[in-house]
Amino acid sequence: MPISILIEKCTGCSLCVKACPFDAIRIMDKKAFIDLNKCTLCGACKDACKFKAVLLEKTPLKCDLPEIKDYKGIWVFIEQKNGRVQSVSYELLGKAQELAKKLRCQVSGVLIGNKLEDQLDELVFCGADNIYLVESPELANFQDEPYTKILVELIKKYKPEIFLCGATNIGRSLISRVAINIKAGLTADCTGLDIDPAKNILLQTRPAFGGNIMATIISPNYRPQMATVRHKVFTPLEADKKRKGKIIKENFNPSLYFSRTKLLDIIEEIESTVNLSEADIIVSGGRGMGGADNFKLLKEFAHVLGAAVGSSRAAVDSGWMPYSHQVGQTGRTVAPKIYFACGISGQIQHLVGMQSSKIIVAINKDPEAPIFKVATYGIVGDLFQVVPELIKTFKEVLHK
């Protein structure tokens, strides 16, 4: 059994019971007992035990480990759509540079697509020491299979020790396939990345259970150490036009670019011009909006602020807003600088999708609404009075 209690050391103090995030430990006859059906072997009990009574076999038995010392450098998958690099890729280059200082290594971007020359300078200015560029007309748009095969080949050839990728719809599909192919550890949606100074390994911290607990994850015995990160978690470097970088063009046999799935069309359908995931400010409405027409008020407010319009599930289910605007557990997770929650009560499913926002402004009639517990600034009142007043005041301040 990979986990067990050393009965002679256990005092029945129940520290482990409190530490267990999975409710898997009970005290029976003054000794701890682990319910293995609930246990996930996370090790929280081992850390909590003062008597070294928890035995946890964490070391893999004997696996085919790659030569870890051969792996060097930090790579970032540069996501492009329509030939334009997505903002999350710049954010990752910024973080990668910070990690690279600790590891004393270089940062490289991998860019796949067609006719991307005009994007290269900006990537170098924002932190790419090298850019591996793979261009071909068949690669203009993302497709799972060719992009996976290219990344697998490049990783095998150049052996990066860390590989970062945006947690976008494209990134999450692609990088999962790559990690399976090369047998690497992959941690999704990291909100913190750091280097363990003693072991020089990547510490990947991510929320679980809708952000109710945080877990720090490592993959010490496999390379590269792979992680995805959502939009807006890290900040891009300021573009430094003096920075120099190397462009390395890679060509493969065109058979590698074959895809069994065929992309027939791409349809854009965002109502406003601002992508929810990338927005710095989001104005969201919930059940308190009272109807589809009233969202015009939020759209006006959003227009003044240059913001995107979001929505709670209640407003989507009522047909007031399309699903693509839904924030929350079954919609999108966002972390803008400012999130306005207008007429949103703040059910836990909504909170998990927006509680990492820097500033949360809640406007609600009900002073007991749970949204006020996470709000940076709370306003108890009628949103149909408050929002127009905010529009007026912001217009004055912004001289619009």
Partner: protein
């Protein structure tokens, strides 16, 4: 059309709350449910079966009590349930989980389509679906919001992106992961509930699957959890009160630096 749906039993997250005094998770009496996204996967599979005939098989990896999730799936139209359950699989990360489920699927016989929810509500990784298709070497389409056309040889689907959607054609067999927008799951019928009660659940252990012991469970998992902790709660907020015009001025003063 033979369809396999992969599901996961998860705690109903609304009930997972932090005890403010001890700062630990309160999970007393937390109900287990089918991962909400998997409900859409089951529903889509049942709808395809109703159009094309064939059967819907559900597979889950988990402890013995995940039996109830399989029965719930049968109550809303699935035909059979497979429970992949063995202590040897404990501690699996997404790599080992997808390897194990792919092994179970091979054992379950031929299939035309695999459907998964886009992600599980407890882990949120969205990695196991693509992991399974990679282990089985079949094409995948993730974040599917609509099946536009289907035959027994191919499918044309709409795949959701951040700012719109793509129309993708895939040959079968293939794996889809689906989002909420794809359908409205049905509620169980009385007949379904009766069938679920008496259905026989097939248990698959390491003995039946005979997977490479180096690739399963803790040993087969490249990632390890080193620390679990509760996040810092958000710092206490500030309530703004007074006349509406005063409130607006106060708020604008407080946040205007972030706007400009």
């Amino acid at each position: 059309m033979n369809i396999i749906v992969c599901i996961k039993q998860v705690p109903e997250t609304t009930e997972v709350r932090i005890n403010p005094e001890t700062n630990t998770l309160m999970r007393e009496g937390v109900k287990s449910i089918i991962n909400p996204f998997d409900m859409y996967a089951i529903e889509e599979a049942v709808r395809l079966k109703e159009r094309f005939g064939g059967k819907v098989s559900i597979v889950t990896m988990g402890p013995p009590q995940a039996d109830s999730a399989l029965r719930e799936a049968i109550s809303i139209g699935a035909d059979e349930g497979y429970l992949v359950c063995d202590r040897a699989f404990a501690g699996s990360d997404t790599w080992a989980t997808s390897y194990t489920l792919a092994g179970a699927i091979k054992k379950m016989g031929s299939f035309d389509l695999i459907i998964c929810g886009k992600q599980a509500s407890d882990g949120d990784t969205a990695q196991v679906g693509p992991g399974i298709s990679t282990h089985l070497d079949i094409p995948q389409v993730t974040y599917v919001k609509k099946v536009e056309e289907a035959t027994d040889k191919h499918m044309r689907v709409e795949r959701m992106l951040e700012e719109g959607y793509e129309i993708i054609e895939t040959p079968l067999p293939a794996l889809l992961t689906v989002v909420k927008e794809i359908n409205e799951p049905r509620i169980p019928s009385l007949k379904g509930l009766m069938r679920a009660k008496s259905a026989k659940i097939v248990i698959l252990t390491q003995k039946e699957l005979a997977l490479d012991p180096q690739q399963i469970g803790l040993c087969g998992s490249p990632t390890q959890v080193v620390k679990i902790f509760t996040p810092q709660p958000r710092a206490g907020g500030q309530m703004l009160s007074g006349e509406v015009s005063d409130i607006a001025k106060k708020l604008v003063d407080l946040i205007k630096d972030e706007v400009i």
